[in-house]
Symmetry: C2
Subunit: 409 residues, 2 copies
């Protein structure tokens, strides 16, 4: 096999993938979930029942529901959005996608050209930042505090852009259990955000992927629920609430947007069996499932926070997330988390370095994201201990942990 | 809802989608299949068994198989490719995709930039031609005869390109049950194609989507099976053999190619439940299923050919396809099939106009593709009668059919 493809590939390709060799022992990256919480029995019966009932419709692309997705699933999504996010919508307002990643790709493809500007949270989902960078788009980060995106900073950035006659293509936000900070934007800030968007006239892309995993209390209404101008494009996912390997997300938006996204969605429809199967849930059953899942995740989160306290002591700064599957940690300035991630990966500990999850590479390099949804509690404890050991060896930090002064021995 | 998105969208978007209002009564477009042939019982048991057995692995992206896809399904694909297409490969050589459409998108994304040249068959799958056009790529068509792509024409085109110092990025071909002509490229031409590709030094992208639906006899080895230089990227699909709404295709290629495609496949993995379910087939079970399916499709094809003879008489020229789900028809020069398709759609008859399925718009406008996989035999007969009636009204052709002289009454 001698053919050399090098000169035939595009010149701007990302680095080639390495052979996959299994998950690392201490895997703290990726939106994975707790294996025991996958509702296997419900899904098994639902898949079988759906196939026996209407499996023949698999003979046509899009089943008999058209390009927006299986109408039974869209009905569940609409009911769920009404009940939980307070979004008034019908099956006509929903587009089912192959996970929320396809939702990002479709919205980006509809709006963005090289040189465009998009506003994001200063700490932001790495998959979004990577996509914007690949599209040649400038991402401007807005500072976050304990209540999510700071509206005073947003207002000043918008004034600045206005002075430069730059109009953002949209503002992308994860307002409810923000990724990676785990914060929740209060309703009053959501309303302020809409006022600013109206004053400066730009659309909002609301990514609500983690909203179903808010530990306690009622979630604020979605920004889209508070919007009476139709300027919010909303996306969500079943990856975090049911199972990540089921590739099902959704977009709720006005028809002038949906009709553009559908025209760009040239995939022959999203996976039909997964859509038919998930449609067996109703809102109550979904709520019951998510209630149990959140209990487990909250406990794992507590274990990880406790392990961080134990092994990193005051070196690791973090706020307890309001929900979700990750903790956003800041280490002292002496630690470069990109270098740490490389050293740790060689010993079976993976983490997301903050430089990939922040619009500010300088502060980003002190930060890291740690996911706790999938590893067991024992694995979390052992993995954080291991990470502290590696970090100490590489950087001298933490100097002390678990009441033991660390040495280089 | 007053927000106007117009100035925010990219300037080069395709036309927005129209609201879907159900399939037309006489639907002769799309790669749909016979509803009664969907192996519903097998799939229902397989889905349930797979979920009960290993549903917990849905908690991680990619299950426990990594980004190339569920290893159980890759094992089936490798065994099937060995048995049917004579391709020697292992699970390591396979990438599972969301239908062959994603395979096209990934290969295009890895190779093509605006201004590039790709060689295709002169009559070619519209989805491929549309993608090349959207990518700003020039598609050069090679003439077809009863045995597929003509190697003498290819040789002369390659000499011509060489004289102009133009090197194609790849040659895209559907050699086995070509879409839309239904021809099969004989083994000797496959070997000649490889010789020409080697002499002129370009890769081949072999799309074998319809190969499992060859009516009779043994299929020739895949071009990839005859290639000892590793220059063939091969793709296939379960859409035509099992069910189109299950979004599962696959690529077999050398690692230098696969590693690039995996790096571009940022979708969180292909649908896991569909992969786990299909993996319940083995080669024998797949063969048994396809044998029954082909019998039904061949009979529907005969019904459509008979209806075309009856209602269009000598006005409709076509060759019996060697397999598949479509017939490629040429009408007299007076008929513009793009206009005919519009008139017919208004009366519930849909067809693919040849201008979208040909690199030569002049000869393409006389041609049309008619799909027979999904409609019942009665629907095929009634739909072709209706199409002849509309065509006569719009163009005067056919003048006579079914032994009845048509009038404009």
């Amino acid at each position: 096999m001698t053919f050399d493809y090098t000169s035939f590939f595009r010149s701007d390709l990302p680095a080639p993938a390495a052979r996959w060799s299994g998950f690392p022992r201490y895997n703290f990256v990726g939106g994975h979930n707790d294996a025991d919480q996958v509702p296997v029995d419900v899904l098994a019966d639902a898949a079988r029942d759906a196939l026996l009932r209407e499996g023949k419709t698999l003979a046509t692309y899009g089943l008999e529901s058209g390009p927006q997705g299986y109408v039974g699933l869209r009905a569940l999504i609409a009911a769920k959005l009404q009940a939980r996010a307070k979004i008034a919508c019908t099956v006509d307002d929903i587009l089912v996608t192959a996970g929320s990643l396809q939702a990002l790709d479709l919205v980006n493809a509809a709006f963005l050209e090289p040189g465009d500007t998009v506003i994001v949270e200063a700490d932001c989902y790495g998959g979004t930042l990577g996509r914007l960078k690949a599209a040649g788009v400038r991402a401007i980060g807005i500072d976050l505090d304990d209540q999510g995106m700071r509206m005073d900073h947003l207002a000043s950035v918008l004034e600045d852009l206005k002075a430069k006659a730059v109009k953002p293509k949209f503002l992308y936000t994860i307002p409810t259990v923000q990724n990676p900070t785990g914060t929740v934007l209060p309703e009053e800030r959501r309303r302020e955000l809409l006022r600013l968007a109206s004053d400066h006239d730009f659309p909002i892309f609301e990514d609500d992927c983690y909203a179903d995993l808010l530990w306690d209390g009622e979630r604020p209404p979605a920004i889209r629920a508070l919007d009476d101008e139709g300027r919010v494009i909303y996306c969500g996912s079943f990856s975090k609430s049911i199972a990540p390997a089921l590739r099902l997300g959704y977009i709720a938006a006005e028809w002038p947007v949906l009709s553009r996204l559908i025209a760009l969605k040239k995939d022959g429809g999203s996976g039909a069996l997964e859509q038919m199967t998930l449609a067996a849930f109703d809102v109550d059953r979904f709520d019951d499932h998510v209630t149990g899942l959140k209990r487990v995740l909250k406990e794992k989160c507590a274990v990880m926070m406790s392990a961080l306290d134990e092994h990193f002591g005051t070196s690791a700064e973090f706020k307890a997330p309001k929900g979700g599957i990750f903790i956003w940690v800041t280490l002292p300035p002496a630690v470069d988390t990109t270098a740490l991630a490389q050293a740790a990966a060689e010993e079976g500990v993976t983490l997301n370095p903050g430089a990939d999850w922040s619009t500010d590479p300088v502060t980003g390099r002190q930060k890291l994201r740690l996911c706790f949804g999938n590893p067991t509690e024992d694995t979390i404890r052992a993995g954080i201990a291991k990470l502290a050991e590696i970090c100490h060896r590489e950087t001298g930090i933490p100097a002390r942990s678990a009441n033991i002064e660390r040495t280089d021995a």
